[in-house]
């Protein structure tokens, strides 16, 4: 697949949907990688004691999967100029996350595409909402 360019991208274009299952092992590895050992991610007993359904994925792990989905479409992670999301619902260990995105604006002068992005869980919950990404496009 060739990477999109400023000339080829149009409003309404969609990225290829990306689904990843997030296991407890991956959450543990992400804790090691990120240095975030908050027990809500690692200790089921603690997580339920603070009202969560069980251990949950780090929000930034979900955001990393979303960034991967956008980067695959853009052709490089370096094309990603900005990304913002709201972590609306927790993603439980063992669930899958599916990321989607659609171009909502193209700035010809700046060479940027703005996308609405989001992610839903395998339970059908909208885990990442209010998502917005800006991608740098080559001419």
């Amino acid at each position: 697949m060739t990477s999109p360019t400023l000339a080829s991208v149009s409003v309404g274009d969609e990225i290829a949907s990306l689904t990843r299952t997030v296991t407890q092992e991956q959450i543990g590895a992400y804790a090691e990688a990120s240095g975030d050992f908050n027990p809500i991610h690692l200790d089921a007993e603690f997580a339920t004691s603070v009202g969560l359904p069980g251990t949950i994925a780090h929000g930034l792990l979900e955001m990393g999967i979303l960034a991967d989905a956008i980067s695959r479409w853009a052709g490089s992670s370096e094309a990603l100029a900005s990304l913002e999301v709201r972590f609306s619902k927790p993603l439980r260990a063992g669930e899958s996350i599916t990321c989607n995105g659609k171009v909502v604006a193209v700035d010809e002068d700046q060479g940027l595409a703005t996308m609405d992005v989001e992610a839903v869980s395998s339970r059908g919950e909208r885990v990442l909402t209010n998502g917005r990404a800006v991608v740098r496009l080559t001419r």
Binding site: S34, G59, M63, A67, G75, S77, L80, S82, E84, F87
Partner: protein, 111 residues
Amino acid sequence: MADAISGADGGGAAGAVPPTFAAVYCLAPTLAQLFTDPEVGINLAGLIHGEQRFEWPEPVHPGDIVDAEAEIVSVEEKRGMTFVGLDILATRQADSAVVCRGRSLMIVRGG
């Protein structure tokens, strides 16, 4: 706080680190300071990530040394929770270029 970035793999084709590696060079060093400061008085174990925005003016590469600083820009109590807003700025030591601007909303339950 300065973080030397080394051995990162799995980034872009040209060897940049993945964008959300900002979790490591941007958030981890600053949050660790903020939320272990007894003056701030936040219980890290009850912390939930509410919202996150990152801007990456330039990619970060293995070997870069990055300085990160964060400022608490808002604290709001509602529904028995505390919402803490943070602005984070990460700069590359070699040329002082801004490599990441972050805005975080953290939620402390039972605040």
